[in-house]
Structure formats: C-alpha cells, structure tokens
Amino acid sequence: MEATLDASSLKSLTRALTCISRYGDSMTIQATSDGFTIASANSAASAYCRFLFTPEFFKHYKLQRNADSLTFATPQDEAIVGELKVKGLLAIIKPRGLDRSVEKIVLEIHDGPEFEKNHGESSTRKSSVESKFLVRAHCKHGVIKTHKLIIDVNTTVMTPRVPDASTESRVTIGSEVIKDILDHFPMGKAMKSDPQLIWHFSGTDVRVRSLEGNTKEVNFVSTELRIGADEFEEYYVLTPPITLKWHLREFNATIALAESINIPIELKFTQPDAPLSIAINTERYESFFAISTAAGEVNEDPESRPTRVGSKRREREPEADPPPQPVRKRSNMVVTTSSARSSVMPSGSAPRQPDPPQPQRSPSTPAAPGADREAASPPFHQSTGIFQNVPPSSNNAFRQPTPQEPLFLPGSQAPPPPALLTQADHAFLEQAGLDVENADELFAMMEDEGEEVDIPPSQVFKPIAPSAQSEPPILFQKEEDGSSTEEDDVEDSFLPSTQARSASDFRPLFDD
C-alpha cells in the first residue's frame, strides 16, 4: 500500500491514533481497495474502535499486492493485514504535524520480498523478510526521513457483534454537551482506575450516575445528573427505561475525539450486555466504536445522602444503594491464560477434567441458553462478548485482532470419537516411547504437531469461517443463525458457557 497524506489528513490521522492508543497498545492495520483501516481493542476485549480512511482521505492511495508475499498468507484476498504498535506510529506521526518543513508524508506497507526489490539499487539495505510499515516524511530541500516499523503478522481478526438495527435505541448528543456531563465525573487519579457510569435512559430524560462499587476511595462522592431528553439532538429509546453501565476510559477517548472535531456523537444500544456502539462519521473518515455494557441498577428510593449537582438544569437526585454485587475491575489475566491454552491445544488433549457434556452448538451462537450461570462473574467478563471471529480470508472490511479474547475458542476441533487402542497399538506406542492411554491423546498429539507446522493460527477458528464467508460482511448485522433468545441469554454465564461449548473437554475458567 502506498498512501500520501497532506497536512489536514495528517491531523485527522493523529487524532484517530491518539484515540486508538487509549483503546489498545497494538492495532490491526488493513489496506483494501476500500481504504485503510486501523482498529484496536483493549486488553480485556471489552472495547473496540476502528477507523476507516477511504481512498479519498489521502491525496494519493494505491494498493498493490505482492504476488510472492510471504508474510501475509491471504493470496486470494487483496487485503493486507498486520498488527502495529500504536505508540510507535503515534510517536512518529505526531511531531510531523508541528514540523513545518514537512511537505508530505507517505505511508507505505511493504511485504518483505517486495521491499527488497524496490530498493535493490542500494547495497546497504539488509535483506529481510519482515513486513514493514513505512512513514516517509518528505521535508524541504529533499530531506527524507523514513521510519520503518515492523508489522506483526496477525491473522486472527474479530469484529464486534452488532445488534439488529430494528431493536436499537438511538440518542445523538453534541460532543460538548456530553463532555460537560462527563466532566462531573472525575476520572480517578490512579492510572489504573477506570470508573463506570450508570446511564438510565427513560422516556423523557437520562440519568447518569457514578457507580458505587467496591471503591476504596475514602471520600467517594456519588454524583447523579439528570439530562432532559431535549438536550439531545436525537432521542429515541425503543423500550424505556433502559439502564446500562459502562467503563469510562475508552468512552472518554471517543468523546475527546468527537470534541476535537466538534461532531455530535450517536450512541446506539439495545439492552444491557449488548455493546454500546458509537459512530463518528466525518467527511474525512468513518469510525466505529463499541463498548461493552452491563446492566445497571437504578434505585428510585430517595435517600438523604448528599449528592453533587452538576448544573442548574439538572436536578438533585437521590443516591442509589450500592449495587448488590461487587463490581470487579476488569481483569484479563484469566482471559489471557485461557485463550492461550485453548488456541493451541486441540480438544482431545485437554489435561483437565472434562465438563459435563454440552450440546455442540453452532459456532456463531454466542452463548448457550440455559448454560450454567455464575452470579458472581464480573460484569465485564460477561460483557466482553462484543467480538466475533472472522477469518482473514473473508472480505470483511473491518477486522479486529484479539488473541486473548476468551469467547472464541477453537470450536473447530470437534472432539474425536473416543477410540480404543488395541493391545498391539499400545505395544507399538510403548516402543516408540509414547505414553498414551487412548486414541484421543494420540490424535491430539498428532494434531498438535500439525498445527505447529502448517496450520496458521487463523484456521484454528475454522468452523466460523464458512458462515462468515458465505454471508455478506457481518459487521453491522445480527447473526442470522442465532436463536431469538440468544441476546437475552448471554448475560451472566456468557464466559463460562462459551468456554464450555468451544471444546467440550474444557473446563470453564470459573469453577462453579
């Protein structure tokens, strides 16, 4: 890919990168004929953002695939996918906006071998098969500054699950107004603090309340604001009241972006546990944000505890009781572990005790209805389910890498039928120095090897591939094959049930 930026598009790109850097450390980059896409999700996979820069965004945009590309194993697809460190790119791009001597900036993506061909005249460039992301700043008098970033090859791409448009509630609000609202809820000083707000959308107004959880702050102030529906440019709540809560960190990043370009933001949501989606579309680029939500509780009982009042428009509101279940901070430690294991091990070789058998379910169904629920499961584990796995070969324009995403385990590896080894087999295996009890283990070992050698990690997710390929881009639509109740049933048990169904031999991460 080769794309040329001018000053104004550089500014937009910088803003987008600044926003994306608050979502995740690394981002997927993707170049297609539709444009250049960057996307990222946070480590807990509970928030996702994506920007699509159309070819018109750039002064010049050329997509050129290298036929003998080694690193991007998607020959049938014109897309170029990879993963970049956001901070690295931002550190390069950001100062360029201040540097007046820069005349233009060219972004290039090079596959390894192609890169060598282009620069064959120079004996100093060492050959490399790594794919590179180049930022080439052309300055005055022909000074050229070239930054090369190494692209991590990533083939696991996910996109958020977006609810059906017909069930969506839509509210549009000016970015400054929502900034004013959020200003009343200070972010914690600690780096890790990531407060949640409870948003109660009723028919006539919205009440925003800070979440009292297991906060350790001594002087915790509970704040509630009431915003009349007329403050919103558009206010359409399908089935009021709806009460949601979500984390602020990524939401704030989005608001900051919207405010910097002074564009109203449109929030779309259906119900608790379905993601909140935000779109900020400018003439220059399209962006999409999804933040997972959980059910919030609203207590109507007036209480005497003092509240802080945001503005004269907003009435004092009594404070609600602490939510009955403690809200844990998002923790992705467990999540990471699980996905690392499960994406490598085929089902047959799972060393843990198998779960009670679960019905093998359609891969794209997010959760089994009636699966074992855990009342104590953290809200943001259950609500991480905004992603869906998409094989890299699909033409879907937007993809998302979340290798530690716990919800999408290799469902492809259907457990092999239990087979017994004959006595002769055992003797043979013992001779070979293998200590296997049954055929499952043997198969598992063989599968293991196969995976390591020639199955790209993407194909571990195979069963999802057919449905994703056969469908048009699934990004903005609800799954066809999910049962009508699936949206309602994904709440508490989402994580464990997903674990269970992905490979029947896996134990859920959380014991009952």
């Binding site: 540097d99 500054k145 930054h147």
Partner: protein
C-alpha cells in the same frame, strides 16, 4: 565586584557581564561530571570524556570574556610534567586542572539567570528552532517569569513576543579567578550592582591523563558543514531504543541529485529510522567526499552531543580513516564574533570486524 582579594598572584582573572553563553557551552558537556579545564592565553578549554570513546571539548575563547587576563604559573615540575608533555613546548604553559562540572554550571546559575534549561524551556527551544529562529537571547528567561513561560509554551511560541514585555532580562555577571595549582577556582557572581553577590569556590583536582583520538587533517574522508537544525532534528528523531547509528556518505550523489548524499540510519528493536539528506545548498553547505564511506557509531554516545548541538547553529562533520568522527558545533553567542566559541566532539566508530 571589581576588586580581587589577591590579584597579585592570580593566574586567571576574567570577567563577563552575562554568563549565559558560557553556561550554555558548559551545559553542552554536562553529560560527564569530571571536566578537565585548561586555561590558556587564548581562552579556556573544557574537556570531558565519555566511555573512552567520546571526547567533548568546549573552546571558550578569550573574546567571550569582557576581560581575560592570564598570567602563567611558575612551572613547578612535579605538577606540570604531564601538562608539559601534552601541550608540547609552548612558550606559555597552560594551567590544567580538573573540576566538578555540575558544580560549576550550578554555580553559574545560582541566580537562575544563566539560562538554565528547565524541561519547559527545552521544549520552547525546540519550538523556536522549528520556526528557524536563532534568537537565543530573547528566549532565555528569568527564573521569576518561569511560571509564565510554562503557560505560554503550552500555546506555542507566543512567548517570544511576550518576553520583551516582561521587563529587563536579568543577567548574571561573573568574575572568574584562579590562583594557580592547588587553589580553588573562584567565581564571584552578581545579578546587579546593588543586589547580593555570591562567591563560589570550586575545588580543583589533579587532571587525569586525557584520552586522545589523534587524526591527520590530510587524511580526511568526509567534510560536511550543515545547519545544526538539520542534524539535531535527525538525532532527536531516533528512537532511544535504537542502539547503533550508521552514517553513510556517498559522493555519487553529486552526479545524480536524486541519491542522498548523507544518510543517517538507526535501527532498533521496534523498527528503524533513516534520514536522507540530498546534496543541496540549503541542506549541506559544504560537501567534500571522495569515496563512499560508511561507519557505525553507538547512538547513545552520539546522543550525548545533543545538548551541545541544540544550542549551536552550525555543525561541521568530519570523518577520518577508521571512522573517527569529529563534530564541531558553532555556538550561538550574543557576541558578534560567532566563531569565537565552539564545542568539538571526537567519537570513535564501532569496529565492524569485531
């Protein structure tokens, strides 16, 4: 501040009404704490060494001082033997001693008016340099206005325009004296005639035997003179995680202008950065090179020169056989005679065979 206690036996008696240029030069070497100071009739040489592969020398000429009076010490054999050897048999024996450089620079800035660079001011320097301005004196500020400077800097380079309205810029005046071997280096500092004065006495130590990276001017491979901004932007562009800097000079560029004449490459874990300079009059003022030259240097060593580079306006880059890199930075001084002060660095190349 004119009287000097024991003026009779003084080896050096010098004064300057504004120490900022002096302080700026010394700060350029502040990456090392031990500095060897050599007082000569033509001025003062301050030398520091880093990792045995970088020597930085600030040449502070006598013209930078309002008054500069050097009376050579009576040679006392035991102390000046080394000096004798190192300086050759000059007619005048320089006084050589070692001092603690941070103490010296802090003393100079005791009133906060030596143009000490807070981080905000560093940022401002970058701003003003981006605008192509070499307006150092107006950008140096008093400590009292520091708070204001920070605010203004947040908005950009506006402070340049506001600065004159802050009133007169305060200056620190200095009288420097040295009584000879074994005596401390005495600094008498004052902000104005009516205000307080400060006397600092810095202990002087026996100098160590300095490293020397000799070179032969005849064998010069590359000689480039360029504006310091160009080089400074390049070096500050490199990611700190990069470990080596490769300098490639290609004379073929004089025939084919599309080829870069000078290339700086740095590569690290996360990627690499490459800066290419064409042989253009505005980029490389002088370009002399016969054959293609490529040498590698440690980036963290080269980065030591950044401080001096930032306060300079012109850079001379020379490469000698075996990769000895000689960088000379012409310093910005308020004096009209700009070539009076410069800092020179000599850096050894990495041995590629190793």
């Amino acid at each position: 501040m004119s009287q000097e206690p024991n003026a009779i036996s003084t080896v050096l008696s010098a004064s300057v009404h504004d120490v900022r240029d002096l302080a700026a030069m010394l700060r350029g070497l502040s990456f090392s704490s031990a500095a060897t100071m050599s007082i000569q009739p033509a001025g003062v040489e301050v030398m520091v060494e880093e990792s045995r592969c970088l020597i930085g020398t600030a040449y502070i000429s006598a013209e930078m001082f309002d008054e500069f009076q050097f009376t050579p010490e009576a040679p006392s054999e035991s102390q000046n033997n080394e000096v004798n050897e190192s300086q050759g048999d000059d007619l005048v024996m320089p006084s050589v001693f070692e001092i603690h450089l941070p103490s010296l620079t802090e003393s100079l800035n005791i009133f906060g008016t030596a143009g000490g660079l807070s981080s905000a001011q560093m940022a401002k320097k970058r701003w003003s340099a981006d605008a192509g301005s070499d307006d150092e004196p107006s950008s140096t500020t008093t400590r009292r206005s520091n708070a204001k400077i920070v605010d203004l800097n947040a908005q950009g380079r506006l402070d340049q325009f506001f600065q004159p309205q802050n009133g007169e810029v305060k200056k620190t005046s200095l009288r420097l004296s040295y009584g000879g071997s074994g005596h401390p280096l005495t600094l008498l500092l004052a902000e104005d005639a009516t205000g307080p004065t400060t006397t600092c006495e810095l202990a002087t130590l026996q100098p160590e035997i300095p490293s020397k990276f000799p070179y032969n001017e005849e064998e010069i491979l590359v000689w480039i003179i360029m504006p310091s901004i160009g080089l400074r932007d390049a070096i500050s562009e490199f990611d700190p995680s990069c470990d080596t800097l490769t300098i490639i000079v290609d004379p073929n560029a004089t025939q084919t202008p599309s080829l870069p004449a000078l290339r700086l490459q740095a590569s690290g874990v996360f990627g690499s950065t490459e800066i290419e300079y064409p042989n253009h009059k505005n980029v490389l003022e002088t370009f002399q090179c016969q054959e293609r030259v490529e040498f590698r240097y440690r980036l963290n060593i080269i980065n030591k020169t950044l401080r001096a580079l930032q306060s300079s306006f012109k850079t001379s880059l020379q490469i000698f056989p075996d990769g000895l890199l000689r960088l000379q930075f012409m310093m910005n001084t308020s004096r009209s005679k700009k070539d009076g002060a410069f800092i020179e660095f000599r850096c050894l190349a990495l041995d590629d065979e190793a």
